[in-house]
């Protein structure tokens, strides 16, 4: 009894020193964990930043013995620049088709009640997520062989467009739904045709959505390895993703100078595209999730 009565007097005014130490230690541990995670994510990427500028690059990450020799090797390699150009052709082509057909289809689906529209959209979304390049590689390979689109960049563009369109339509339809109808009505009063209305009224308003889809399609096509790997045969048609794996010496050793400089050149456009979009439109959440 007396013990309980005496206790309140013993309560100290601040937190006990052991608590302060504990808090300090946990704060330090917290930052150690963050630093370790940062190292884990950064370490593999350091090579692509340092090795391209090294006179004699090895696989180990080390401070470069500065030289621009790797870039001149890249410049003189017949396939390297060619493949970047090929990647550009393929991804711009894919982007253009996805944008044009995606915008047309999503606009029509947003404005007109085609019978079975909701079922169609649902089926499209389902399809785009289940039919992946990996699961469909056999029939796509056979189909392209039969229609003589094997070893053709057009074939690669068409296959990629088919794969990207469903998700593009799904996302674009939301943007189209959100554009106000009153502008279209007044344009119609002044005698504009539906295509004119789409071009001069709807597309300018839906531009943020279209820009997001454009970059998304571009980055996807730019990085796609499997489709060109299966469908292309001649080395002068390979895009960057595939050509990287041909930079080996006769002895099977990777040409590290060339590969490092090439990886850097190949990666920079993706990073720039991301920065532009995130600065302008806030890219953060158009990655395919909308809830």
């Amino acid at each position: 009894m007396t013990a309980t009565a005496a206790r309140p007097a013993a309560v100290p005014l601040g937190p006990p020193p052991s608590m302060v130490v504990k808090k300090f230690v946990s704060r330090v541990l917290f930052y150690v964990v963050i630093a370790l995670l940062l190292v884990f994510f950064m370490l593999p990427m350091l090579w692509i930043v340092l090795a391209p500028f090294d006179a004699s690059p090895s696989l180990t990450i080390k401070l470069p013995d500065f030289s621009t020799g790797n870039f001149s090797e890249l410049w003189h390699n017949p396939y390297a620049l060619r493949s970047l150009l090929n990647a550009l052709i393929i991804s711009l082509g894919t982007m253009a088709l996805v944008l044009v057909f995606g915008a047309l289809a999503s606009y029509a689906l947003s404005r007109v009640r085609v019978p079975g529209r909701d079922a169609l959209l649902y089926a499209l979304l389902l399809l785009s997520s289940i039919v992946s390049g990996t699961a469909a590689m056999v029939p796509i390979f056979l189909l392209m062989t039969n229609v003589h689109l094997i070893d053709s960049q057009l074939g690669v563009v068409l296959v990629m467009t088919g794969g990207l369109l469903p998700a593009a339509i799904f996302i674009l339809k939301d943007f189209m739904d959100a554009t106000p109808r009153s502008y279209e009505e007044s344009a119609k009063v002044f005698g504009a045709s539906p295509l004119q209305i789409l071009r001069h009224v709807v597309i300018p308003i839906a531009r943020p959505g279209l820009a997001t889809i454009a970059v998304w399609a571009l980055v996807n096509a730019w990085g796609n390895f499997l489709v060109p790997f299966i469908l292309l045969r001649s080395a002068d048609k390979y895009p960057a993703a595939v050509v990287m794996y041909t930079f080996y010496t006769e002895g099977g050793q990777p040409k590290l100078g060339l590969i490092s400089a090439f990886s850097l050149m190949y990666s920079i456009p993706v990073v720039i595209a991301y920065l532009v979009v995130s600065r302008r439109y806030g890219f953060r959440f158009h990655g395919g999730i909308k809830s």
Partner: protein, 298 residues
């Protein structure tokens, strides 16, 4: 769904023209997405091969390919490895690491947060061929950085631990998505509820279980299903190990490639693809059902 204001045809498009607008997209999707999927079903029932007698005149063999698959220890091995790969890199690796990062980034200065998020995002943005090479370089036996750091010269990680290598690789590659999703989800947890839990003396784990988790449960499910689907269909581990050594990291995409295009067994490859499509379908249906029930609730 009832007729809503959404579908007012302000531009006077009309059904016929609307059909014309939708047609080109549908033709492309039909030719290069739907048709291949359907053809997979047919091919899976034949003994089609890339070369030789069965290339000229493929025969229908019914369900033989599927029976072969169930008796093929390489297929069963591949299925098992795929399960380990998805569970290890998507469900455990990306979800846990992504959540941990999102959670920790709430409590740091904006500058630190900016640096960490950019680095994690870069791993996700860089082209697959480049990141595969970067990891190949890091894990290399002769002068890879990992051996230099751990002082284990000559240790061949890709041969000794092929599965661990591709699991860590895919965790590194894909964590950004979970991190972004969870950091958006965590912003929706009301701070007042966390505050009252703290006042009531709940510790970190209890706060997580009773306050945070109920708010983000839907996002956890969404995230798990989506990244499982993507990981399951991911071809890039092939660039690291090509399924080897000796089938030890031959997950389904690598198995299909090695059998269909590598040894030319197109029919058998198509049958395995079909199994993959069915698994994709199940995951996607789960996801869509989930989205729907959530829409009904709100």
């Amino acid at each position: 769904m009832p007729r809503t204001a959404v579908a007012t045809d302000a531009a006077g498009l009309g059904r016929a023209r609307a059909g014309g607008f939708v047609a080109p997209a549908l033709v492309l999707v039909g030719l290069f997405l739907v048709f291949p999927a359907l053809w997979t079903i047919y091919l899976g029932l034949t003994d089609y091969r890339l070369t030789g007698l069965a290339a000229a005149a493929p025969k229908m063999v019914g369900l033989q390919n599927f029976r072969d698959a169930l008796a093929d220890r390489f297929f069963l091995n591949s299925l098992w490895l795929t399960l380990i790969y998805v569970a290890g890199s998507a469900i455990i690796g990306q979800t846990v690491l992504g959540f941990a990062l999102a959670w920790m980034m709430q409590k740091v200065r904006p500058s630190v947060r900016g640096v960490v998020e950019t680095v994690v995002l870069l791993a996700w943005l860089l082209p697959g061929s480049v990141v595969s090479f970067l990891w190949w370089a890091m894990l290399n036996r002769r002068d890879g950085t990992l051996n230099a750091l751990l002082d284990t010269p000559g240790y061949n990680w890709l041969i000794q631990h092929p599965m661990l290598s591709i699991i860590v690789f895919n965790t590194w590659r894909g964590t950004a998505f979970s991190m972004m999703l969870f950091s958006a989800a965590l912003q929706a947890v009301p701070p007042s509820q966390l505050e009252s839990a703290r006042m009531a003396g709940a510790n970190g784990a209890q706060q997580f279980r009773d306050v945070v988790f109920p708010h983000i449960r839907g996002h956890v499910l969404t995230n798990t299903l989506l990244i499982s689907l993507w990981t399951f269909n991911d071809f890039s581990p092939y660039l690291l190990t090509a399924g080897g050594p000796n089938h030890k990291s031959e997950i389904l995409p690598a198995f299909i490639y090695n059998r269909a295009i590598g040894t030319g067994e197109l029919g058998y490859g198509a049958a395995i693809s079909l199994i993959m499509l069915v698994i994709n379908l199940i995951i996607a249906l789960l996801y869509l059902t989930l989205l729907r029930t959530r829409k009904v609730k709100t």
